[in-house]
Amino acid sequence: MPSPRHPLGDHSLPYTVHTELDSDDEVSLDTDTITDGDNITASPSSRGLHKSRPPTFNLNLRHTVDLRAITYNGTVDENLVCPICRCPFVDPVLTDCDHVFCRPCIDDALSESQLCPIDRLPLSSDAVSRAPKMIFNQLDALKAKCPCCGVVLARSMLESHLEKYCLEAVVRCPGAECVKLVKRKISGEDCLHYPMVCPDCKETHDEIDMEAHRENSCNERLKACEHCSAEILRCKEEQHEGECPDVVQPCKWAEYGCQDEAKRKDLPLHADECSYKAMGQMAETLKKEIRSLRSEVRTMNETHHLQERRIKFLEGGQRASDRPLDMMDLSLANLPESTGADALESGHEYLLSLLEAQQGRLSQLSAEVSDFQAKSTMMLFNETLPIKNELAELRSTQQVTCMHVRWLMRFRMQENQRRFGGGPGATSNGGSDGGSSSDLSMGRRLSDSLTRDIITKL
């Protein structure tokens, strides 16, 4: 039933509940909030019998596990037991005197007296720090029993188990309007918190409790079976009908023609002497045989189809490998087209062959690359060889020239000295822009720079 949206009316309160009666006497509930554009509307209950109430928005029930109340599987190492509360540590802390306690326990102890509860040494709350990680790990690994469903799991997992998974844990009823709590295992269904009349005693109970009521507490829950007169639960009557020993049933070979009927408890007796027994048994075996043959045929058909598909694929693959290998044709998109749509279906094999084809191409490419490399190395070598020879030749020529120049220079200098009677440093070399010096070592350096000049000119 769609909710009649209320026009903005009385919004003096954050949550306003309007209640009105429809023509069919159903109570519709419309809840508006005006918390800064945040407009939450609870949809009206389809059953319409829930009373108006302020909406609750804390949908998830918090299960804060009391770790001191849970039971552990097996005995817990005495070193992991708090000397104050005698439970495995909860939020353990280490004191400066090397004792471990639960944080709440040592807080309580220190508020009584500022002494260590074990050795009575002076202890202040500043001398207490978080216990080593190792202790936490050991505690997390303790095997704890879920207080709701009893399953055994690591203590560290308990909270999330209760919050998300435990089927026996209590959660909010899924009904949009309902504030009641239900066990998680039935929380996937609709809200069952509506009154129903018990068909046996006519009392009114919530639907969610009806099954338990009819099985355990209903005053009219029992009746005598009309066949065997045993006491049975009314709600289990049909189930009993299927197993009551006094219910009359046809012979089990009825479909082969036996007309006899007997009480369930007497049927085995009749079955032994039934005249249709031989035929019935034969028919049963034949039926079984046929069934197994059919299933065999089915599996063979399947294998046949599979093989056919494989053949088709292989043919497709053949065609693909017949094509000349194009150097640029490496994209995946080109192969499936050539092999055909049928081959696509044989999943793994197809992908495998694709991979093989690509690998083949890759190895061919790498072979070509190395080939090319070798060729280019040869070419380079061939081209550089004459250059190297030329260079060596040039070097030797240059050395010869150098010697000549040096010899000539020395000869000139000696001549100059002889001619002017020796003022050192008074000469300059004609035709050269190098520095001037008459002294021999300088002359050598000069000759070096001259050679460099000559080389560059060459």
């Binding site: 104050i84 005698r86 439970c87 326990c105 309580d108 009584e112 007296s113 509860p117």
Partner: protein
């Protein structure tokens, strides 16, 4: 304080499932774990042997931060127990200045047992008994045995 009750329940379970020799523990009232009835056999080798001594152990609400109180309900002539209807006992580990929250009731009970074997006359509350224990051990043993026969049968 709920956590104190949990600890007491644990200690009670420990003592009842695995009781120390010569000590029997039960609750005065099943709904209250703070009051324990103790029945202690007089230890062999002491003048109290053969006697059964009733004690009342009271655990305060702030146990284990405060020590339990223990009294002899059966009269006992002992240097460290008052020879009257209170049966107040003086024992080291229960003194407030010596009590450690980590001590267990079990160790209190065994210490009490030990006190019957070895009185501590220097810390006496029953001076006449202490006097005789120190100066005339035979007389002390004889009198203690007589009182045991008289009261602790």
């Amino acid at each position: 304080m709920a956590s104190s009750q949990k600890r007491i329940s644990k200690e009670l379970a420990e003592v009842t499932t695995n009781p120390p020799e010569g000590i029997h523990v039960s609750l005065v009232d099943e709904s209250n774990v703070h009051n324990w009835n103790i029945v202690m056999d007089g230890p062999e080798g002491s003048p109290y042997a053969g006697g059964k001594f009733k004690l009342l152990l009271v655990l305060p609400n702030d146990y284990p931060f405060k020590p339990p109180k223990i009294n002899f309900k059966t009269r006992i002539w002992h240097p460290n127990v008052t020879f009257d209807e209170h049966g107040s006992m003086c024992i080291g580990i229960l003194k407030p200045e010596a009590w450690k929250p980590s001590s267990k009731i079990l160790s209190v009970l065994t210490a009490t047992q030990q006190l019957l074997v070895e009185p501590v006359p220097d810390d006496a509350v029953e001076t006449s008994a202490a006097e005789k224990f120190k100066n005339n051990r035979a007389q002390f043993n004889k009198e203690a045995q007589e009182y045991t026969k008289k009261y602790a049968k």
